[in-house]
Symmetry: C2
Subunit: 209 residues, 2 copies
């Protein structure tokens, strides 16, 4: 429909500009409180000195995530979407104007906390990352097939809580395999800094000239 | 805009029909995995014999919630929204056709897991309930002012996890008071059956003839 078509046209412009700037762009999608910001805090710390990073973060309100991330990274832009339920390509384009993308190797876009709406909106990213967390329950992959099917990699966060919540890794993985045989799932505990496999996935994608 | 206006017209029809049927309707809104279904499981069990209950549950995919709730209640309708990010009044109207609302005192509508989109769509309910959970982090109220401002009551779930996660009740409550002085917040642990204050809130609203 029309809104989507307009969005995709701007997304193409973004993608072209990102490519020219030599920056790899990640669209991070997950439910509210799944740990997107905690993951980026740990990631920015781990990549310091190895990869030049920047962040665009979207939330309906507040600049709390932008402030948290600003402690680890100079190039951070906070977008407030108001009643908007997802970042769109135009908001990302505006945010790009407040960054120096040519000085970046890796740009993270922390999308609005929402497992549905962001999935359909191309922002011009290179990779779409789907983040689930153990405390949400093991059926969230089955309930969100659009994200599972279109993500380049899936992350399962808060594995440190496995002892305290009823989450079956088997059921979660089976639901994912049922949707796609080729899904890659990386387990993490972002707030505990247990993110090695994710950093290993990122490093080859850190685009340096 | 036009979609919203059409929705509200159908919501008015729903509200009229619910009133004639003498049923009190609750729209339960919360993030994916916040514990909406767990809360309804515990609620249906607690109200058995005291209040005639029914449920309409929306999810992008699967009938897992409908099946869970069907064990405690005969009048359950599962709606699948596909790429849709919220239940709308028309979907509720269709679901009503599959229920016998005149035989109900209390109808729960478990909305799609999403803290944003469902807030703006009137379904014809009597009360809008906002559910947050401790594992999401204490900033979710501040980030979702639209829900906080339009909810009739707010619930904080998974309080049994307080020892294992970094959640400040003070910050959470302060954020809410900042938005509205009159907010009522009920603490619960749905999967542990600790829902007394919520049942106390519901019972006077259980509309019997
Ligand atoms: N136990 C545990 N808690 C975590 C982990 N990662 C994040 N958290 C906690 O989960 C809560 C939410 O984390 P955030 O990073 O704010 O989540 P988010 O996905 O950025 O949330 P939004 O941006 O609001 O959608 C915070 O209290 C974090 O401390 C983890 O690996 N383990
Ligand atoms: N520790 C703890 N876990 C809970 C509580 N309530 C729910 N859970 C767990 O949280 C997970 C999600 O619960 P659900 O009831 O499926 O959540 P939901 O809000 O209905 O999720 P969606 O319908 O998919 O949006 C499950 O693993 C539940 O067992 C609680 O009070 N304490
Ligand atoms: Mg965040
Ligand atoms: Mg549910
Ligand atoms: Zn949306
Ligand atoms: Zn929506």
């Amino acid at each position: 429909e029309n809104v989507l078509k307009l969005n995709d046209e701007v997304a193409l412009l973004n993608r072209r500009q990102f490519t020219q700037a030599g920056v790899f762009v990640v669209d991070l999608i997950g439910a509210p409180g799944s740990g997107k910001t905690a993951l980026l805090e740990a990631t920015l710390k781990a990549l310091a000195g190895r990869c030049r990073t920047g962040v665009i973060v979207g939330d309906p309100a507040t600049s709390r995530d932008g402030e948290r991330l600003g402690r680890y990274c100079e190039q951070v832009v906070q977008v407030n979407t108001g009643h908007g339920c997802h970042l769109d390509a135009n908001q990302v384009r505006q945010a790009m104007g407040r960054l120096n993308v040519t000085d970046l190797d890796l740009l993270f876009i922390e999308n609005v906390g929402n497992l549905i709406c962001p999935v359909g909106f191309d922002l011009g990213q290179n990779a779409k990352v789907g983040l689930f967390s153990v405390s949400e329950g093991d059926d969230k992959a089955a309930k969100h097939p659009h994200l599972v099917l279109t993500a380049d990699v899936l992350l399962l966060n808060k594995i440190d809580l496995l002892a305290y919540v009823s989450f079956s890794r088997d059921r979660f993985m089976e639901d994912i395999r049922h949707l796609r045989a080729d899904a890659e799932v990386i387990e993490l505990a972002a707030s505990k800094g247990l993110i090695k496999a994710w950093i290993d996935w990122l490093l080859p994608r850190c685009r340096t000239r």
